[in-house]
Amino acid sequence: MTQLAPSPTLAVEDIGLDREGRVTITNLQITRRLHAATMTSKSKPKPNTNCTCNNSKDCGSKGNVTGCHTNSYPQCGCIVK
């Protein structure tokens, strides 16, 4: 395998995938902290799956309200005027 330069911040060798494609971190302490982080950290806005118009960054196209459907995800609403 190609040798990667050691990094003072993150060792890439610590990251892998398991047989179901889940990201694995080999250090148990970090795994616990990651689990805690995913439980508490603010998620990015959900992808906008049922609305063509919305006003949230990263939630799909911005634009006019014509034909805009009700949106079922927090932070991914239609533009309301």
Binding site: T2, L4, A11, D18, R19, N64, Y73
Partner: protein, 348 residues
């Protein structure tokens, strides 16, 4: 192991760390599925060899089982259809998507989204309506400029041009009410640049008053196709000025960025929780390096499990270790080249 990574995952401090946390989360999964690697086009700059046909029944089953294995713990499932031309294997797309929609219907916590990179030739009204029902709401369609120029480079397999049919399909989406979002990827070459101001004006007037349409301007690159040695590309040093000028035509003083799309800073190939499933069941990271053995990190098995070699995965993730945005943006551009000479590995 340094203490630093622990602080990263517990409390992201900057954009880099926020991105890292996003892409190592196991409640999020991105699959890029190659329904077929055949194509009905022979674009002059294409890098694919079309050697692998439609996704086998065994691989389709593997994809469905993999999603079943993961779905209970997912908040977000994103499926990107790629090829070849995915609409040549529309039944594959529909079979997998129907399965996902069924699973998602039973799990209101799951945000499922689908997108497709297609040449647009077969993206007629019936196809769009059906695929949107199946959650595939985002489409990327490429145009190479006005009809005469487009037809010189985006050529059907039978040698005929393709512009008329694609344009008709795009107009039908615009004139319909289906909530399909279309990213018009407009390729720039030295040859088509003189025509671009008028063409983009036409694009703006025709599509950009409809919020479902956006534009990405993309210079054509040499990506390993048979014409790489002879084809001209827009010189790197001139690109910023050219792009700024052309983008100004598209936005025409409107809200900044409206109608334009910026490519993400983090390539899917750098994201640990994203991978490519090829039509023959091989697992990869990149959709450009399809002929490079370094891009095969494992195989999908019919029961939905993955036979993976993490030593082959890790070079794709190395940008996270070096905190190098350029590598994270395209890990293949500076990939350790010695790997290219290695034979494709055999997985059990």
């Amino acid at each position: 192991m340094s203490d630093h990574i622990e602080s990263i995952v517990a409390e992201p401090k900057d954009l880099f760390e926020e991105e890292l946390v996003s892409w190592i989360r196991n409640d999020s999964l991105h699959l890029i599925l190659l329904a077929t690697e055949r194509c009905n086009f022979r674009c002059t700059y294409c890098y694919e060899d079309f050697a692998i046909g439609r996704m086998s029944a065994e691989t389709i089953e593997g994809v469905k089982r993999l999603i079943e294995r993961r779905v209970e713990s997912l908040d977000s499932l994103s499926i990107s259809w790629f090829g070849g031309e995915p609409l040549l294997a529309r039944s594959v797309v529909e079979e997998v998507s129907e399965h996902v929609v069924r699973l998602a219907r039973e799990r209101p916590q799951l945000a499922y989204s689908g997108d497709m990179t297609t040449n647009g030739f077969l993206l007629d009204t019936a196809a769009v309506e059906r695929l949107v029902q199946l959650g595939i709401q985002h489409y990327q369609v490429s145009l190479d400029g006005p009809e005469p120029l487009h037809n010189r480079t985006r050529i059907q397999g039978n040698g005929k041009g393709s512009f008329g049919q694609i344009w008709a399909n795009l107009l039908a989406i615009r004139d319909g009410s289906t909530p399909a979002n279309v990213l018009l990827r407009i390729h720039l070459t030295p040859e088509n640049l003189p025509m671009m101001p008028d063409f983009l004006l036409c694009i703006r007037k025709t599509f950009l008053n409809d919020g479902r349409f956006r534009v990405l301007l993309k210079p054509v690159e040499r990506l390993g196709g048979p014409n790489d040695t002879t084809m001209e590309v827009v010189p790197q040093e001139t690109r910023p000025g050219i792009l700024a000028h052309l983008e100004s035509i598209l936005v025409d003083g409107k809200e900044e960025g409206k109608g334009l799309f910026s490519a993400p800073d983090v390539c899917y190939a750098s994201r640990p929780n994203s991978f490519v499933i090829r039509a023959d069941g091989r697992i990869g990271k990149c959709t450009v390096a399809l002929r490079d053995p370094a891009n095969t990190i494992g195989n999908l098995l019919p029961d939905g499990s993955l036979d993976l070699d993490n030593d082959r995965l890790r070079p794709w993730l190395r940008g996270w270790a070096s905190r190098d945005w350029e590598t994270i943006g395209c890990p293949y551009a500076t990939f350790p080249r010695t790997r290219q000479e290695e034979p494709t590995p055999e997985f059990s």
